[in-house]
Amino acid sequence: MTVETAPASASPAPADQPPRRGLGRRLLDGYLYAGPVTLTVLAFVCGAVVGAVMMVVADPATRSALGYFLAAPGDTFSNGWHAISAGYSALFRGALFNTDSLYSNGGAPIFGPIANTLAYATPLILGGLAVGVAFRAGLFNIGVQGQLIMGAICAGLVGFDVDLPPVIHLVAALLAGIAGGAGWGGLTGWLKARTGAHEVITTIMLNYVALYFLNYLLNVSGFQKPKTNEAVSKPVSGDARLPHLFGANLPVHLDLLIALGAAAGVWWLLTRSTLGFSLRAIGANQNAARTAGMNVERGYLVVMLISGALAGLVGCSQALGARAGGFDNSVDANLGFDAITVALLGQASPWGTVLAGLFFGALNAGRVVMNASTSTPSDVVNVMEAVIVLFIAAPALVRSIFRLRQARGGSRVSALAKGWNG
């Protein structure tokens, strides 16, 4: 942090230069009048700093060295530095590249970490899109959790209880999952459109209903894995599983392509279609949209159907991909709530959501290695995520920390969900 502030404090000297400016001055200006990219990078820096502090706090060696700080201050710093570098290198090894894979013969695959990142990112992207679409229409869908559970149930039922020819079986299972999610999301939209029931309440409640419904099914024959007492579903039959994209050793399934396709679809929907325009209009100002002749109630229903369908795909990705061998009641993997953070980091734009999903996927892949190889609890990752999103949402705070100036031309107003009254 101190490194970044140094040029700022040196800036007054060349302030009264004539219009022709040197390269250094232009670079400095580019930094001082930071655009969105710089601000995003700086938000990540803040997140990394907070993460580093927590890694130091969690390190027993550093804490014991702090006990004799005045006698040997070097110990504290070296131990602390060691904790930080061990933590971040573990994250890096888990998420991107493990140098061990170069030297081992047939051991860890070189692309293993990247594949893990992609595998973690896929459901997050789909879930982020689900939340983001609803955001753009001014709805706050906390119900991705329940919608994905219903999607997983439906996809699973078709996957293990229906016999169909190979490709058709997968398509049918996917469609069932989409329908399950869309139905559950659409229920919220319908309730809001017909009765005005607030979507925040209904989605929270329907999350629990879906979870308990799954709990019930997991103990019913026909859904439960035969000959066990465990609450685990049957394994999905081979033809209904999402195929591996890069060989059976790497956990990347077809759902990655589905997620990218969905992002393209959402982008087209929001920016190129009439429906998307009216959805955004409803999100921006529902009264104006109504006055302009748009059917706001229908918009609520449609956007919740779309959002639920995307959430249903998350369920498919879990039930037919990562957990095709049988899933339990942790099939949601808290993806519904993580998806909200992803959508926020992606500023509810489809491609931003893809990037945010990849980033969170990388953190999730990294945290596994971090948990195994360091003493730092991997919950640091959640804190880092929160801090990054917080700082991205508050550019003014980042500016004041790094002593930047307000960008010329004003800042972009984010078109996310507003207050309760829309």
Binding site: M54, V57, A58, F140, I142, L191, R194, T195, G196, A197, H198, V200, I201, T202, I204, M205, L206, Y208, V209, Y212, F213, N215, Y216, N219, F337, I340, T341, L344, T376, P377, D379, V380, V381, N382, V383, M384, E385, A386, V387, V389, L390, A393, A394, A396, L397, S414, L416, A417, K418, G419, W420, N421
Partner: protein, 441 residues
């Protein structure tokens, strides 16, 4: 009416009152019919489902707690006829509503009556399940209050303090969590009072974060709340794994508060043991319910708070400092929710465990909205959720006429809420400026 009535407040029966009611907008015909249809369905469920399925014979309720207070005979209700009568009563209400329409004000009582009828006939049905074995009503109520309601009530009150001043609080869940964490840790290291204070402080800090980002940096408040929840979950899990787990006897071993009988009040026949044989955090909750209500509606501070939440520009024009008002209310709200979090650990469960609040903050948020941003309404909603929560713990154990898988009992509170919100409450109006940052121009 004569002119003399102009100076005295209108009393019941005055023509003035009639005028007031006539001026109040009645519900639209469609909404009225929809509400009536919902009530009819509820009534039919009482008659057809509960009534017909109930075992013949009496539903017997044990009113007094065993070995506590004066002996009260068990209440015997004929199970089936009771369901029929209560269901019919709900249907009569529905027909009245369809025919002439209740005003919004009296609709509250209609809803409350319908819910009560539904709940009692449900209980009659459930209690006929085990003929020789009376249903312990007070046990249920005590579970409701002791196990479930305090975090919900305090979380909802905290949320209302925020939202009435114009800041949306989705971070109740996070405030409960940090409260539970700090409460457990400080109570282990010092004592329970210090633990409660630390929990309030932790909730207040999270509230302060909410306030700074919402008021100063004008961040979207729903976004903010969600992120603060992630932050609180991450921090408490981190602290749990890095600190509490390493030294659980020294850091995560608080003494659970003992119930204290209030002399006199706890001797009241039925309600005494339920309400006044609890630990002091529950009594603090009673006090806070009254305090928040009085605070918001009977003090200058409350008037200003509501003004800032409804129309900040007008409030600013008459010299109220909008930002300061919001900071204070959001921080106080966070402290109240933090105390609710303390109840999760030192008031009930003892040790902290990861994600101990498990969604209670979101239920509290639902109670805020369901209760239409009024303290008493939210408390009622929170109690309803807590009651349903108590039912789903108790009923699978007690046994019912038709055996129902426990998962469906667990769904009950949530399904009931969806029905209540969609069928009876409908569109609610938040404080007008709730969620909108105020930029002074």
């Amino acid at each position: 009416m004569s002119t003399a009535t102009g100076t005295r407040p209108p009393a019941a029966g005055d023509e003035l009152v009639v005028h007031h009611q006539a001026a109040e907008p009645l519900l639209s015909t469609r909404r009225r019919l929809a509400g009536a249809a919902g009530l009819v369905v509820a009534g039919l469920v009482c008659i057809l489902v509960f009534g017909l399925d109930a075992n013949p014979g009496d539903a017997s309720f044990q009113v007094a707690l065993a070995g506590f207070g004066p002996k009260i005979p068990n209440v015997q209700l004929p199970g089936r006829p009771a369901c029929f009568v209560l269901g019919a009563l709900v249907i009569v209400l529905a027909l009245l509503h369809a025919a002439r329409g209740f005003s919004r004000r009296s609709m509250r009582w209609v809803i409350a009556t319908a819910i009560a009828c539904f709940a009692v006939s449900f209980l009659c049905w459930a209690a006929t399940g085990t003929p020789g074995n009376p249903f312990t009503l007070l046990g249920l109520l005590q579970t409701t209050i002791a196990a479930s309601s305090v975090p919900l009530v305090l979380g909802a009150l905290g949320g209302i303090m925020c939202e009435r001043s114009g800041v949306i609080n989705v971070a109740i869940e996070g405030q409960l969590l940090v409260g539970a964490f700090m409460g457990a840790m400080v109570a282990t290291m010092a004592n329970n009072v210090a633990g409660t204070l630390a929990a309030a402080a932790a909730g207040g800090v999270l509230g302060a974060l909410l306030a700074v980002f919402a008021v100063k940096y004008a961040v979207n408040q729903v976004v903010l709340g969600v992120v603060l929840n992630v932050l609180a979950l991450g921090l408490t899990n981190f602290g749990y794994n890095a600190l509490l787990q390493q030294n659980s006897s020294g850091l995560n071993n608080p003494a659970v508060l003992n119930p204290i009988k209030v002399p006199g009040l706890s001797q009241i026949p039925i309600l005494g043991p339920v309400l006044f044989d609890q630990n002091w955090l529950v009594y603090l909750t009673y006090a806070l319910i009254v305090a928040v209500h009085v605070w918001l509606f009977r003090t200058r501070w409350g008037l200003r708070t509501r003004a800032v939440g409804e129309h900040p520009r007008a409030a600013d024009t008459v010299g109220i400092n909008v930002a300061r008002m919001r900071y204070r209310n959001v921080i106080i709200g966070g402290m109240i929710a933090g105390i609710g979090g303390a109840y999760l650990t030192i008031g009930y469960a003892g040790a902290f465990s990861g994600n101990i609040s498990s969604g209670k903050g979101f239920i509290a948020l639902a109670a805020v909205i369901f209760g239409r941003w009024s303290p008493l309404g939210a408390v009622g909603a929170a109690l309803l959720f807590a009651f349903a929560d108590g039912l789903q713990i108790l009923l699978p154990i007690a046994g019912t006429p038709t055996n129902i898988p426990s998962a469906f009992w667990s769904m009950l509170p949530y399904v009931a809420t969806v029905f209540a919100v969609a069928g009876l409450v409908g569109k609610v109006q938040a404080p007008a400026a709730d969620g909108e940052p105020y930029v002074k121009s």
